[in-house]
Symmetry: none
Subunit: 242 residues, 2 copies
Amino acid sequence: MAGIDTNSPIPKYYQLKEIIRGMIESEELQEGQLIPSERELCERYGISRMTARQAIMELVNEGVLYREQGKGTFVAGKKVQQEAARLTSFTEDMRERGMAVSSTVLEMEVEPAGPVVARFLRVDEGERIIRLKRLRNADGEPMALETSHLLYDVARGTLEVDMSKSSLYEELRRGGVSISHAEQSYEAALVGEADAEVLGVAPGSPALLIERVTFDAKGRAFEYVRSVYRGDRYRITSVLRV
Amino acid sequence: MAGIDTNSPIPKYYQLKEIIRGMIESEELQEGQLIPSERELCERYGISRMTARQAIMELVNEGVLYREQGKGTFVAGKKVQQEAARLTSFTEDMRERGMAVSSTVLEMEVEPAGPVVARFLRVDEGERIIRLKRLRNADGEPMALETSHLLYDVARGTLEVDMSKSSLYEELRRGGVSISHAEQSYEAALVGEADAEVLGVAPGSPALLIERVTFDAKGRAFEYVRSVYRGDRYRITSVLRV
DNA sequence: CATGTATAATGGTCTAGACCGGGTAGAGGA
DNA sequence: TCCTCTACCCGGTCTAGACCATTATACATG
């Protein structure tokens, strides 16, 4: 089992979070199963209890674990049943579907905002924007073509990160962005010729076109994403309430 | 200003949470305003920093506050009121979009459940089902082709109703069905030849395929609907939260 | 005037303990 | 056999510090 690197710039609690997440994904820990207690994690990884606690509490907040006083901490069931559509990144979405994520960065540029992007992000035309176009693969096969437009000030930290390996949202969170909510739209469309080749489907194949504007805790729109999902591989499910 | 009661069984961090919440509600602290720093709260209320931190972090998780390293902690803006996707009928959906609804009943039959319908409705194959196929128009033009499969016992009252004029959900509610929630999936597809003619589009046009299983308050699945929406006319928007 | 630079403040992470109340399983007694 | 009590483990709360990175500001230097 991987340990915790004290000299790493990555916080210990974060390392522990990833370790626990890994154990759940590898099914070393299964749904409903008791995970090691806080005190046992402290001892095993040589960290203090408050640090172990922070890792666990964040996973509880994310719905990955749940706790019962006096009993212990358990792996939560898949929460597909529970909630209506949640705001997730592609990485998180695929992880919940149990698929392996990989990405290819096709374009990453700093450029002035055009009229469409400026309107969605509520900034002036010409404002500096990072445009990140990625091919997103699930289980090794193309799933979506995603073009994000990000406020330069918010996302400039990601320019030095290899976005083919990182989750944009995780990077942004690490960079101090507090992601709050998004307005998203879904539309059926056909795959165009250029996109078809990249996605590995025939032109005119069905596609789900998803547009999203994401807001931070201050209510500022910091991201406009336009994604083309392969209709033959992607389907959205959600629970609706009256 | 109220203080913190050390002898109270209510945890200190929780008392502080309520104090801060109160200051926001009384507008002593306003949107976007800096709140006292962790260290200042410690001193003012005679608690340790980790305790003050817990109060603040929970309010951050709840979206009441947001933090910026090196700057401070601020009061977040009021949350967007708009809701995530609600469970609505076609009639309600179009009414909210400000479009006029009309329908044509194409088929309405009582028939035994086939394997697919039986699985979705969690009944045995051969169980009596009402199948209702309608063309749904918005502002006089075809919008969707909708095929509902309903448990006979639940929906037999609708057999005597002119479903080209009535809302299915309103009729069911009138018949005593308490609609609770639904599991819905969205998928991109192409319009087939038969459907194309009815929908008034070319075969191979983009379509949004929506499947829904609707449950009543007892948790019984009573409806399975499969709808084909015209991709050129229909788009779904919703607000997602973290 | 522009440009660094020291300083102080903030939140972020972390430690090594402490006591509390809830839950459970085993020991001992009826 | 069955019940009760107790010891132990669990998470929940809390302390009093520590060092770090980020940020703003005031000041000194070119």
